[in-house]
């Protein structure tokens, strides 16, 4: 660093200043008066003129070099030398006017020259000082610059590091199997990882800058506004969405969104991580389908087993009856009929006939569940119970269901479960009847109304389909047990339904519609 150099030290030392003053005067005096002077300037007048000039010069030199003090001393000494050696009378000091004038001129000149020198000296000093200050400043400035330069280097290095970290992280994102992309609030894709390239079939270059929902033909499970609302509220959203690949195949993805709020110099962005669950989804659908199939099969199997067991129960006594009756005929054909044996066989026929009847009674009791609690119910409520159970079946067959329950339908006193079974039976039958129809005809309507019949108010429900209808079959015939049009059907549904309604004091009947299909009517007496 540049030290603060003192100005005084830059001037000639004190001995030099005073020495020059004394020496210069002595030399000038010697040259004027001594033998040297006589040799240089042989003529006295010339010698004196040059002597005075020399002395004068010595005074000025002293003032120049030594400043005002030495200049004044040299001036006085020079004046004394001139008075002593040059001005007559020689070799005496006459303190007259000439002397005073001479001293004054010499002194004035010395002071003038000394002060000029001093001034110059000071200016030089000032100059030196300011140059020095300038240097200091330049140094400081240079140091500053170096500092900021280093800082800049540091920043650049840090930035490089950050960039390489970012690159590494982006490379890591490319390693994941998940498809990851980032888009702004308008859906413009800002980042697209390798997983996304593989999943969707667009390269990074193709994807960047395009609008995600349009490119992927996104189908959202709920309106996008709801998703965005949740995203802005919680910063996250998760759900299943459907996208379309580059090759046009649709895929279902489990999607997770993270929201980065906008900040100064930073736009809002949404990070979307998607997992392909198409296969899982398909497997789930297949499983669901298989389960439904299984349920259906097991229901049919159960009914089949029930039918087999009923058949066995009935066929046993029938076989005995036929065998006994045949035996009787054989005996009666003989010449000598064993009457006792015929009687025994006929008694067995009677008992087996009764046994067969008992079996039927038992089955009916079992199916009819006669001992049940009956409660006051609204027909509309029972219909509402049933709809969630049958709606999947109806929508699976693309059937449109219309329900109209009048406000004045009277309450009924029923076993709610049994009436539900009747409704389910009628609705499922109707769905089956319309399975092979064109879609626009698959309409099913349930209407409940109050009707005043002979003995009071009734709740009447009409279940109307637009199916194949009854054809040539008498409407009453469909209520007979084991009447069925369905392959694998048992033909018990309508028969049991009717016995349920009848046991409630009501009526169940069918009418053919004028255009298509059948309407089933359930009439139940109002509970008093």
């Amino acid at each position: 660093m540049a030290a603060d150099v003192p100005v005084q030290e830059r001037r000639p030392p004190v001995w030099l200043r005073w020495g020059v003053a004394l020496l210069s005067v002595a030399v000038a005096a010697a040259l004027t008066t001594g033998p040297g002077g006589e040799r240089l300037f042989p003529e006295p007048p010339e010698r004196f003129v040059h002597g005075v000039t020399l002395l004068y010069a010595s005074a000025i030199l002293s003032a120049w070099l030594g400043g005002i003090g030495p200049g004044l001393v040299a001036a006085v000494l020079a004046a004394l030398v001139i008075d002593w050696f040059i001005t007559p009378p020689l070799y005496s000091i006459s303190l007259d006017f000439d002397f005073a004038l001479r001293i004054a001129v010499f002194a004035l000149s010395a002071v003038l020259v000394g002060s000029l020198g001093l001034r110059r000296q000071r200016m030089e000093d000032a100059l030196r000082l300011s140059r020095h200050e300038l240097e200091v400043k330049v140094e400081e400035r240079t140091a500053d610059l170096t500092r900021s330069n280093q800082q800049l280097h540091g920043e650049i290095a840090a930035r490089r590091r950050a960039e390489s970290t970012l690159r590494e992280q982006a490379a890591l994102l490319d390693l994941t199997h998940d498809s990851v992309f980032v888009r702004d609030e308008q859906g413009v894709i800002l980042y697209w990882n390798r997983g996304a390239e593989e999943l969707y079939g667009w390269t990074k270059a193709e994807a960047l800058g395009s609008v995600a929902p349009a490119r992927l033909q996104t189908v959202f499970p709920v309106p996008l506004e709801e998703i965005m609302a949740e995203l802005t509220r919680t910063g996250r959203w998760e759900g299943e969405i459907v996208h379309t690949r580059h090759d046009g195949t649709p895929l279902t993805v489990a999607s997770r969104w993270s929201f980065r709020r906008a900040a100064p110099g930073r736009p809002a962005a949404i990070l979307e991580t998607n997992n392909d669950i198409t296969e899982r989804k398909q497997a789930e659908d297949a499983l669901h389908h298989a389960r439904a199939e299984l349920a259906h099969v097991s229901r049919v199997t159960t009914l089949g087993e029930l039918a087999a067991s009923i058949a066995h129960e009935i066929n046993q006594p029938l076989a005995a009856i036929v065998a006994d009756a045949s035996a009787c005929l054989n005996w009666l054909d003989a010449d000598d009929s064993p009457i006792d044996q015929v009687r025994e066989a006929l008694a067995a026929v009677v008992s087996d006939g009764n046994r067969a009847a008992a079996v039927l009674t038992r089955i009916r009791a079992m199916l009819g569940r006669s001992s049940v609690a009956r409660r006051r119910c609204q027909i509309g409520a029972i219909i509402a119970d049933v709809l969630p159970l049958v709606r999947p079946e109806l929508s699976r067959h693309g059937i449109l269901l219309q329900t109209a329950v009048a406000s004045d339908v009277p309450a009924v006193l029923v076993d709610r479960i049994q009436i539900q079974q009747v409704f389910i039976n009628l609705l499922v039958n109707a769905a089956d009847a319309m399975r092979d129809l064109p879609t626009e005809r698959r309409r099913l309507s349930i209407r409940a109304a109050r009707e005043a019949l002979d003995d009071g108010a009734w709740a009447v429900v009409a279940v109307e389909d637009a199916g194949m209808g009854l054809g040539e079959v008498e409407p009453e015939h469909v209520f007979e047990a084991f009447y069925t049009t369905k392959p694998g059907g048992l033909g018990m549904g309508l028969s049991i339904s009717r016995s349920i309604i009848t046991s409630h004091g009501g009526r169940l009947w069918a009418t053919a519609n004028t255009a298509h299909g059948v309407t089933f009517h359930i009439a139940l007496p109002a509970s008093s």
Binding site: A308, H312, N315, Q316, A319, A320, A323, D324, A327, Q341
Partner: protein, 211 residues
């Protein structure tokens, strides 16, 4: 033909069916023994007379099909007429494949049952005759000396007396005499009959095709 009366065995767990079957079969003059289960039938002694089994498929304990299998394994063959409460095609196919005579669904027509029973008895008679004849032939064969059996094997293989004599190192006259013994003991009138008997008994033939 057969002097002994055929017996019809009825196995059905339903008593009224069992009783009615007994009455029906008796009414046409058939002898009947009825059992409520497969075990009861198997544990009862059986008379040595032709007969058949009228068997319900569905039985408590071993089923009708189990009993059918058991009889086959135990080598106590008896033609079977199956009865079932309801037609079940896989079961009937299984039963028929295992040799059942008929598979009737309850309630059955009397004539169908009697026809099936008659057919079954005929089959049992034929089987029994066959078994009897085989036993007779076996007894005759067992009465041959070892050398006679060897000679019989050579004869039914179509070899000449000379060849047989050469093989055993005896004279043709000896072979001729032994051959006469074989024909006598086996009660065969001709070589053709002897060959037929040998085939039924699976008699080993000797040296066929080589000299």
């Amino acid at each position: 033909m057969e002097s002994t009366e055929p017996i019809i065995f009825v196995v059905d767990d339903d008593q009224s069916v069992r009783d009615s079957l007994r009455r029906l079969l008796r009414s046409v003059g058939l002898a009947v023994q009825a059992f409520p289960s497969a075990q009861a039938f198997l544990s009862s002694p059986r008379a040595d007379s032709p007969g058949c089994l009228v068997l319900d498929v569905r039985l408590p304990g071993p089923s009708g099909l189990d009993l059918q299998r058991e009889l086959l394994i135990a080598d106590r063959p008896l033609p079977i007429v199956f009865l079932t409460g309801h037609g079940d095609i896989p079961t009937s196919v299984k039963a028929m494949k295992a040799g059942a005579v008929e598979f009737l669904t309850k309630p059955f027509r009397e004539q169908d049952l009697l026809d099936a029973i008659r057919q079954a008895i005929e089959r049992d008679r034929a089987d029994r005759r066959e078994r009897q004849e085989l036993a007779d032939l076996r007894r005759r064969y067992d009465s041959l000396t070892p050398r006679e059996r060897d000679v019989m094997g050579g004869v039914v293989a179509g070899r000449l007396n000379k060849q047989i004599a050469a093989e055993f190192g005896t004279s043709q006259a000896t072979v001729k005499e032994q051959r006469g013994q074989v024909m006598l003991k086996m009660q065969a009138d001709s070589l053709a009959e002897l060959v037929r008997i040998a085939t039924r008994l699976h008699v080993p033939t000797r040296g066929s095709g080589s000299a």
